[in-house]
Symmetry: C2
Subunit: 221 residues, 2 copies
Amino acid sequence: MEVKVVRNLLEANERIAQENKEMFANEGIYVVNLMSAPGAGKTSLIEKTVEALKDRWQIGIIEGDIATAIDAERIMSHGIPVVQINTGSACHLDGNMIRDALGEIPLSSLDLLIVENVGNLVCPAEFNVGEDDKAMILSTPEGSDKPVKYPLMFQESSVLVINKIDLLPYIDCDINAMKNNAKKVNPKLEILEISCKTEEGLDKWFAWLNKKIEQKTAQKR
Amino acid sequence: MEVKVVRNLLEANERIAQENKEMFANEGIYVVNLMSAPGAGKTSLIEKTVEALKDRWQIGIIEGDIATAIDAERIMSHGIPVVQINTGSACHLDGNMIRDALGEIPLSSLDLLIVENVGNLVCPAEFNVGEDDKAMILSTPEGSDKPVKYPLMFQESSVLVINKIDLLPYIDCDINAMKNNAKKVNPKLEILEISCKTEEGLDKWFAWLNKKIEQKTAQKR
């Protein structure tokens, strides 16, 4: 009974996520669902991305948090449209929440929509929202064993961004073991090493994203 | 309908948690449910605790992880009884999982049982397992805004252990803001600052725990 209810929930979400996906396809918007544990650097990476790409692309952001509008306020200072979703107690975003938020954003003008999920290395990976790609961040202080201990998110993601590489001299994190563990659970996973603080490696993330946006928006130009 | 199912699940869990709690009371065992985001240092703190307290108290550990027995193997090397629960995909431990694990542990000889929850700053806080106290770790690289963004766990916990204070010189974390935010969501929260790496502040955690164990085990001595 309980298992059936969970399956029904996931199926209902999948239907709405698919409708979102069709809407994004019709508008030629590339959508990335950005996930990580709390404090890995999702909002910082979004801020850097907005600054680097906002002259080339029209960008919108959906912020998911259990409580507060702290992240939306950080993003808003960069002068692009942002919607804050407060999930109350829900530990992830789902297709329905995204559909409701879309009315608050000038959708047809966008090239790139970044959805910042709730900080959680487990549950967000189970719920599609209609995105083209799931991208995830793992920060070096979280440790190299996380891909094998929390495999689903690594399996569902197209790209893994390893953040806070500037801290490597001060912590016990074997970044090669981290990458090997990630490849073990998802051999196709693309892996980028960055530091939002020093900006090292960000150019590779921007290049990855630019290519994705070019492919998706080509049809509307 | 959906809400009712969730409420039924929580109520069923609460009943089992209560049965666990009575069993722990009868045996005079102090039980702490240790929670945090992934990589904040739960297993490291348990290892330090076992080394410091195992000559004084009989200690058992229940390890909760979605996958792998990495943490149980780390604990086992310290020569105390440990049970690994692999939740498969579940993002938290519940009363039923703990009840099932108790059969694998020499319960009546124990003074202290530490339950290491799944690494997740959201869901574990909703499910009692029969513990005397919930304790949580927040590590400095996660950032000072986490108590207000993920309030439930801070509200449910008796003590907050701030770990990785050795990294403060290298990161943008205002530890006073972190503590103020924690007190804002839970004015009664006890806060300890530690580094598992340098062992700074661990004595305060051991003192907190010793006092709790003395109170709980007094009845059986």
